[in-house]
């Protein structure tokens, strides 16, 4: 996120010297061209199906970066600028990876895979991977939304009503810290399908942090904020909806973030233990065939999915809590 902020301030500097060559981009472009040269010219130790494609992609990236560096103009190129050192490091990493695997075969083979082997998974098995992502999302999202909703309502009720707090607090205190995966044997026994069991576990994992942080957020709302509304004729329902909930929202989002993290962990475990679909299952299944390239590819996709969902949640938070930031918005 900070990268985009820096990039946003760059065009102004560019206006003063519009044709400055982007040195970092040039270095990155040359590094990628070098990587392409090594991939294509140095013979592989074994037969790999996607060596030409990998070399071509690296060459294309290198050429584009060199062109961008020469142009040096503001616009989309300027946004890449902060990434310069990373682009160089990635090219060097690719070269090193090529040498220890495909080119010199220094690392034991089934566990360590060559970049072209990983690329091959994406080019050949993208349909299965995409389907797995879809299955994972379809399992995760209903469970997460269910847990978040129940957790939110429970937290508000506990923070608002002393009686609810009296009954709910000990239960939450006993059950909450228990990892949701500990319920796995019971859940798969108690529910008729593994999908229901997994949804229950994901909801449980999300529920606890959302409930606790919503509760603490509502409980810590300053009494004067209620007094203001009460003196103007507000009823309890108005105080909950228009005072308690908005005031607790920053804390609620922390709970939603933490709940998302635990829901990922339950999702993967559930898919490895019982559900016969999704990225967790894909990884488990590939590992059974010693197809480690597929395991790594699925891991990469899973990382992308998780970070994407967290980013989505943060976007939502930034939208809802715009008032909290120091940014002037009219």
């Amino acid at each position: 996120m900070s990268a985009s902020v820096e990039a946003g301030s760059l065009p102004a500097a560019q206006d003063i010297r519009p044709w400055r060559v982007w040195a970092g981009g040039g270095a990155a472009g040359l590094a990628w061209l070098a990587a392409a040269g090594i991939v294509l010219a140095w013979p592989d130790i074994d037969e790999y199906g996607r060596t030409e494609l990998l070399g071509g992609v690296a060459a294309a990236v290198g050429l584009l970066l060199v062109a961008a560096a020469m142009a040096g103009a503001p616009g989309p190129v300027a946004r890449l600028r902060p990434a310069g050192p990373w682009l160089v490091a990635l090219a060097i990493g690719l070269i090193a990876w090529e040498f220890v695997t495909a080119k010199l075969d220094l690392l034991p083979r089934p566990f360590f895979v060559a970049p072209q082997a990983l690329l091959e998974v994406f080019t050949d098995d993208y349909a299965k991977l995409g389907e797995s992502v879809l299955h994972s999302l379809l399992l995760l999202i209903p469970g997460y939304l269910l847990g978040a909703t129940i957790g939110f309502v429970t937290g508000v009720a506990m923070g608002w009503s002393r009686r609810v707090g009296y009954w709910a607090h000990p239960v939450l205190r006993l059950i909450g810290p228990l990892p949701a995966t500990a319920w796995l044997p019971i859940a798969f026994f108690a529910f008729s399908t593994s999908r229901q069991a997994s949804t229950f576990l994901i909801a449980l994992a999300t529920f606890f942090p959302v409930a606790v942080l919503t509760w603490s957020g509502v409980a810590s709302v300053a009494g004067s904020l209620y007094d203001v509304a009460r003196t103007m004729g507000a009823r309890p329902w108005f105080l909950i909806r228009k005072v308690a909930v908005p005031a607790a929202l920053p804390s609620v989002f922390v709970g939603l973030f933490m709940g998302l993290g635990s829901s990922f962990s339950v999702l993967v475990v559930a898919e490895m233990m019982g559900v016969k679909a999704g990225l967790g299952f894909y990884m488990q299944w590939s590992q059974g065939w010693a197809a480690y390239a597929n395991v790594y590819a699925a891991l990469l996709v899973l990382a992308g999915m998780c970070t994407g969902l967290v980013t989505l949640l943060f976007r939502l938070r930034d939208g809802k809590l715009a008032w909290q930031k120091g940014v002037v918005r009219w």
């Binding site: 203001v228 003196t231 507000a234 908005p246 005031a247 008032w323 009219w330």
Partner: protein, 253 residues
């Protein structure tokens, strides 16, 4: 113009329940305010004046004694009696306009009476900042926004709990004048809590001086001068000396 509210308080006792014992804060307080009148409650910090305002606002009931607004007992909060706090207590997640609209929203009048919000913002000079958020306002502007939020309810009684206490001195002087002008024009009853003698004498028809906690009324001073008043008016200067002596601050006078 609004319907100003008259107040009648008799034998008010109040105490805070602490862990071990009760801490008495108000002792046998009587108070009458005529409809449209302006009374200042003056006393040392923490003496219990603010508690008296909370009782009149109906936010809590007294331990003993009767409170009546226009002859009817006060049993709870009512939008006709609006309390303005020392802190603006604006909702940080609402714009100035949405903050000012709070009372109408709470009573479900926002659709029909929504125009009152902008009227109130114009009255306090904040209409150009209607879309701003509280963190973007200065202390004086935030307190003006809180005033607009109170005025939207067309209160018959405005309860002011040291509303200018945290402002810088120039803003404070300006807002004293504005509040007096507003009171004269709109006609609501005003009950002002302050620990600033000069402020009490500038803004109120009558000044009640309270003792340190538990608060009792130790003297009552009628300030028989027309509004707007000037702080260097010799009559006010003499009264100021008298009040300070009552408070035991002979040297300061």
């Amino acid at each position: 113009m609004v319907n100003p509210i008259g107040l009648r308080l008799r034998g008010i006792h109040h105490a805070f329940a602490l862990k071990e014992q009760d801490l008495p804060v108000l002792e046998d307080v009587d108070l009458d305010v005529r409809p449209g009148g302006s009374v200042a409650l003056l006393g040392p910090s923490g003496c219990g004046k603010s508690t008296l305002l909370r009782l009149v606002a109906g936010l809590e009931p007294p331990r003993r004694g009767t409170l009546e607004a226009d002859g009817a007992p006060i049993t709870g909060p009512d939008p006709s009696r609006v309390l303005m706090f020392q802190d603006p207590t604006l909702y940080p997640w609402r714009s100035v306009r949405a903050n000012a609209a709070l009372g109408l929203e709470a009573r479900g009048l926002i659709r029909t009476e929504g125009g009152r919000v902008d009227d109130a913002l114009r009255l306090v000079g904040l209409h150009e900042f209607a879309e701003a958020y509280p963190h973007q306002l200065s202390g004086g502007m935030a307190q003006r926004a809180a005033l607009a939020r109170a005025l939207v309810n067309r209160p018959g009684l405005l309860l002011l709990d040291e509303p200018l206490g945290k402002l810088d001195s120039l803003t404070r002087l300006k807002m004293q004048e504005e509040l007096v002008a507003l009171w004269q024009r709109e006609g609501f009853t005003t009950l002002l809590v302050t620990h600033d003698v000069e402020e009490a004498l500038l803004m109120a028809e009558r000044v009640l001086v309270f003792s340190p906690r538990p608060a009792r009324v130790v003297s009552e001073i009628a300030v028989d001068r027309p509004f707007p008043r000037h702080r260097d008016d010799p009559h006010l200067v003499a009264l100021r000396r008298e009040v300070l002596e009552t408070l035991g601050l002979r040297e300061a006078a």
